[in-house]
């Protein structure tokens, strides 16, 4: 058993002739913050998707919690212990904030109700408002709330402060590094 949460070896992903990820070696232990920097199209989002089993690798090894991300049943086990915020912040537009949190909470046995109450209040999220009527910033805050309350170990965040003003950016980053103390 290793203490590495995420490990990749020579990870590759190609879309036809385009090589989106080329030979990525990554070792991320528990309790650290790791950032991907790169230009658009550098393969950051693709890497995150491969780690969550949303996209299949072309070659190489990718393990999360020492589980092969593409092995049968590994994907659900990994996603059950991982929080993901996509760059699109795509949520369910037809649901209200309260419905969305209740629905997502039902998938996670370690859901932190205390954090949910805290962030709904601190982020100023209106429980009765439909997601589609939220501003981009509010959607981002809701997506971050839904990620933080899962009781997940790694948080996989793709541009988590996109669309936020400087004050909200600070608030969200504080919530991410110190859950419960934003």
């Amino acid at each position: 058993m290793t203490d590495l949460v995420i490990e990749t070896k020579d990870l590759r992903k190609s879309y036809g002739a385009v090589e989106a990820v080329r030979g990525l070696d990554l070792r991320i232990p528990r309790g650290v913050i790791c950032g991907f920097l790169g230009r658009n199209g550098a393969g950051k989002t693709t890497t995150m998707k491969m780690l969550l089993g949303l996209t299949r690798r072309t070659a190489g090894i990718a393990r999360v919690f020492d589980l092969d991300v593409e092995a049968p049943r590994s994907g659900t086990a990994i996603r059950g212990r991982t929080a993901f915020v996509s760059d699109e912040k795509d949520l369910y537009d037809g649901m209200t904030v309260a419905e969305m949190t209740r629905f997502i909470a039902s998938f996670f046995s370690r859901w932190r109700r205390d954090l949910e109450d805290l962030y709904v209040s601190r982020f100023g999220l209106p429980p009765a408002r439909r997601v589609k009527t939220l501003s981009r910033g509010m959607r981002t805050k809701l997506a971050v709330l839904l990620a933080l309350c899962r009781g997940a170990e790694p948080l996989v965040l793709d541009e988590p402060t996109g669309g936020l003003d400087p004050a909200a950016t600070e608030q969200v980053l504080q919530a991410i590094v110190s859950p419960g103390r934003c």
Binding site: L52, T76, D90, D93
Partner: protein
């Protein structure tokens, strides 16, 4: 046909779908849930008019038993499920919402044209099942054709689930 369009694949490219796939559930479960809901809607679309006609027929001095209505609804559902399943399969292949119903509409047109030009062709289509022609004329339920329809739908839905399971999002 419309119930099968706009599936999880097109949703994943427009928003919402990717979030669903990031949850700790199998893709097959997501497909099964969506197909089940759509099939229930299809059954409601088939059953409600049949029940309404059966209930209201006496009001206009006619008789149409509820049992007959439910048999017709079952036939309409069984035959219609093939069209739904085929559109559902197309929706697991194409990321846009317009191509699956467009392909189905083209298929309808081709089948209708062949039926017009070749009268004997009708018995090889789903029309006898959906209209309940044999049930009306002889009282016999076309079990063989109905079973083939259900089997075809099952295979098409299975292929759709396999497509979604293999896909990159």
């Amino acid at each position: 046909m419309l119930l099968g369009a706009g599936g999880i694949v097109s949703q994943a490219t427009r928003g919402g779908g990717l979030y669903t796939f990031s949850l700790p559930v199998f893709r097959q479960q997501i497909v099964a849930a969506r197909a089940s809901v759509a099939l229930l809607e299809l059954f409601a679309l088939a059953a409600v008019p049949a029940v309404v006609v059966a209930v209201l027929s006496s009001a206009v001095g006619q008789s149409y038993s509820l049992a007959d209505g439910l048999v017709h609804a079952g036939l309409l559902f069984g035959g219609g499920a093939v069209f739904f399943s085929f559109t559902f399969l197309m929706s697991s292949i194409f990321t846009d919402t317009w191509r699956p119903p467009a392909i189905m509409a083209a298929l309808f047109f081709i089948i209708a044209t062949i039926r017009m030009l070749t009268p004997g062709f009708t018995r090889f289509t789903l029309a006898p099942v959906i209209t309940g022609a044999s049930y009306v004329s002889t009282g016999d339920i076309p079990w063989t054709a109905l079973s083939l329809s259900v089997l075809t739908s099952t295979v098409l839905l299975f292929l759709a689930a396999r497509n979604v399971a293999r896909r990159d999002f």
